[in-house]
């Protein structure tokens, strides 16, 4: 950095290219475009922690789904008679077919895990607040599409869970007054879940992956407009608050990716069916419902909310509301302070919400009987209470802790504190610190 730049936009790390790259760049400035997006010319808050890895991980998870999905689509047969057998053929006969299917199935699970961490990171650090509301919305739309895409994908193997999951979920639309029955008939393209629905789902499952990819690009575009939030939740004030994305955050993301891939490989190679339902290895039978229908784990909290309301239409509305309420969170949260670090009461409410969602997940996976019913209803009530009542009130009542002047000063103070804590140890063991030089 030359001189004393006062504003972040005064700092530039543009690529100056010669030769072939320069020739291309002059005609299509693709290299600076990349450099501005994830390179040295994208200034990023210097204090991001590992929770900021999950956006990049989600992008990679999407790419893995698309690549493996394209291969699976080339071997899959979208017919009632052929679907189940074609999946078994992929597992047994197609070269590495088992690998593609296990990566795709477990990849979907992990994609949701990543996106949920990403979403709760957002709720904790208040990233959805001004001026990132649209960024938050794009993320939520992506989540909605992911749920639809995952559900449709789950139907494709045409096992018992596929068939009955499709039956139950499409019947939800029958709850809509007046047009419900006609709507369900239209969705099915027949008098029950069958050929027309299977083929339609196959087509849309493939399409939606690319719609999600397009929305992800908009999501990143919106992110770059006001740049990443950070654990302190305060704005970038100057060049001293940032680091270039490359090499600092590319390296950090790469490290996170390494950890992620190790977990992914452990799942795929050692416990590939741990997250799946064994009933889906039974071919679809329209004359027999499995004893216990449950969705995949990532939809269990929503499933619990659906079942909490003892009314068909009410349950469906609660399910929709559970997702839609997230869209208005930027306005329900009345606090001007973003990060929960400086919000002592909200911080506790956040963790209670996390516990509540886990509880909902547990209830969603349990049979709908006995004590599980009232617990599910309480947990559902608390979910809405958090967003609709507590969030607006706490923002008004709570007195936040003082915010640091800038990211840079907070980082420097943090380092000073760390050094003070380390100092006696450094003196005590000088030999082990440099043992491998």
């Amino acid at each position: 950095m030359s001189g004393e730049p006062q504003h972040i936009d005064d700092v530039h790390h543009e690529l100056k290219l010669r030769g072939v790259l320069g020739w291309i760049e002059y005609r299509l400035p693709v290299f600076n475009w990349i450099n501005n997006a994830v390179g040295t010319n994208y200034p990023t808050p210097k204090n991001l922690n590992y929770f900021w890895n999950f956006g990049a991980l989600a992008g990679i998870a999407l790419v893995i789904q698309i690549l493996t999905g394209i291969v699976l689509a080339a071997h899959y047969v979208p017919t009632v008679d052929g679907a189940f057998a074609s999946v078994e053929r992929i597992m047994r006969d197609v070269n590495y077919g088992w690998l593609f299917r296990y990566v795709h199935a477990n990849g979907a699970s992990l994609f949701f895990a990543i996106v949920y961490v990403h979403l709760f990171r957002n709720l904790y650090y208040g990233s959805y607040k001004y001026p990132r509301e649209l960024l938050w919305w794009l993320g939520l739309i992506i989540l909605l599409l992911m749920i639809i895409t995952a559900f449709m994908g789950y139907v494709l193997p045409w096992g018992q869970m596929s068939y009955w999951g499709a039956t139950v979920i499409t019947n939800l639309f029958g709850a809509i007054p007046v047009i419900g029955d006609e709507l369900v008939l239209w969705l099915w393209g027949g008098y029950s879940v069958g050929e027309a629905l299977l083929r339609g789902f196959y087509s849309l499952h493939y399409l939606l992956a690319f719609v999600i990819a397009g929305l992800a690009i908009l999501h990143i575009w919106a992110l770059h407009q006001h740049r990443s939030n950070n654990p302190l939740g305060i704005d970038i004030k100057g060049p001293q608050d940032v680091l270039p994305f490359h090499p600092y955050y590319t390296t950090k993301d790469l490290f996170g990716l390494g950890i992620y891939l190790i977990l992914f490989a452990a799942l795929v190679f050692y416990m590939p069916n741990a997250l799946g339902e064994p009933d889906n290895y039974i071919p679809a039978d329209p004359l027999q419902t499995p004893a216990h229908i449950v969705p995949e784990w990532y939809l269990l909290p929503f499933y619990a909310i659906l079942r909490a309301i003892p009314d068909k239409l009410g349950g469906v509305m609660a399910l929709a509301a559970a997702l839609l309420v997230l869209f208005v969170v930027p306005w329900l949260d009345t606090s001007k302070v973003r990060s929960a670090r400086f919000r002592p009461i909200y911080k506790q409410l956040f963790w209670i919400l996390v516990a509540d969602v886990f509880l909902l997940g547990y209830i969603g996976g349990s049979p709908a009987e006995g004590i599980y019913i009232p617990i599910g209803q309480l947990a559902t009530a608390y979910y809405f209470l958090h967003f609709l009542v507590l969030l607006p009130i706490v923002g008004k009542l709570e007195s936040p802790k003082p915010l640091p002047d800038s990211i840079a000063t907070a980082v420097l103070e943090e380092n000073k504190r760390k050094r003070a804590r380390k100092l006696p140890q450094v003196g005590a063991q000088p030999t082990s610190a440099g043992g491998h030089h």
Binding site: L67, V94, N95, Y96
Partner: protein, 178 residues
């Protein structure tokens, strides 16, 4: 950030940088293989790669087409006359010089893949009513290649004789192709 002590062969950071890059490259390379291999014939396709045909019903002078690996195979029961004709040819004059004796296991049975070696059309000559070309074998209507009674190319654009598949006689009337 404190600088690493500089040795003759660069810094520790250089080593980590190169090791990471090498590891990522090898990993990406290995991950590419399943994407390529999934397009190769699957196990069930390979399992159906051979075909057993009962040839007891084919009279001398007649032929039969069977489908093997998605391609037509011509099985011809040759008359002594046809065999005689095929063996009287001067091999040195042929475009693709092979002796008839080397193209058949039993003189009366000619088994070839029925795909013209020019551009992959199916030659005529199996049915009695088909044109058999100028050399009493097979005739490809697409671009006019003529094959003789040993299915060797004699005239037209085809570069090679009709291919002889791997086959064996399990019994005198049962042949296994592939």
């Amino acid at each position: 950030m404190t600088a690493e002590p500089k040795g003759d062969d660069g810094t520790r950071r250089d080593f980590i940088y190169i090791a990471t890059g090498a590891f990522a490259t090898v990993g990406a390379g290995i991950a590419t293989w399943p994407f390529i291999d999934q397009m190769n014939p699957a196990a069930d396709v390979l399992a159906l790669a051979s075909l057993e045909v009962d040839i007891s019903g084919i009279q001398p002078g007649h032929a039969l087409t069977v489908k093997w690996r998605g391609k037509p195979v011509f099985i011809r029961h040759r008359t002594p006359d046809e065999v005689q004709q095929a063996r009287a040819v001067n091999v040195a004059d042929l475009r693709d010089p092979v002796r008839d004796e080397d193209r058949v296991q039993q003189a009366e049975w000619l088994i070839v893949v029925g795909i013209c070696t020019h551009l992959g059309c199916i030659p005529l000559g199996v049915k009695e009513t088909d044109p058999k070309g100028d050399f009493d074998g097979y005739f490809c209507p697409c671009h006019g290649s003529h094959y003789d009674s040993s299915a060797r190319v004699r005239k037209g654009p085809a570069p090679r004789n009709l291919e002889v598949p791997a086959y064996e006689f399990l019994t005198p009337t049962l042949v296994k192709i592939g």
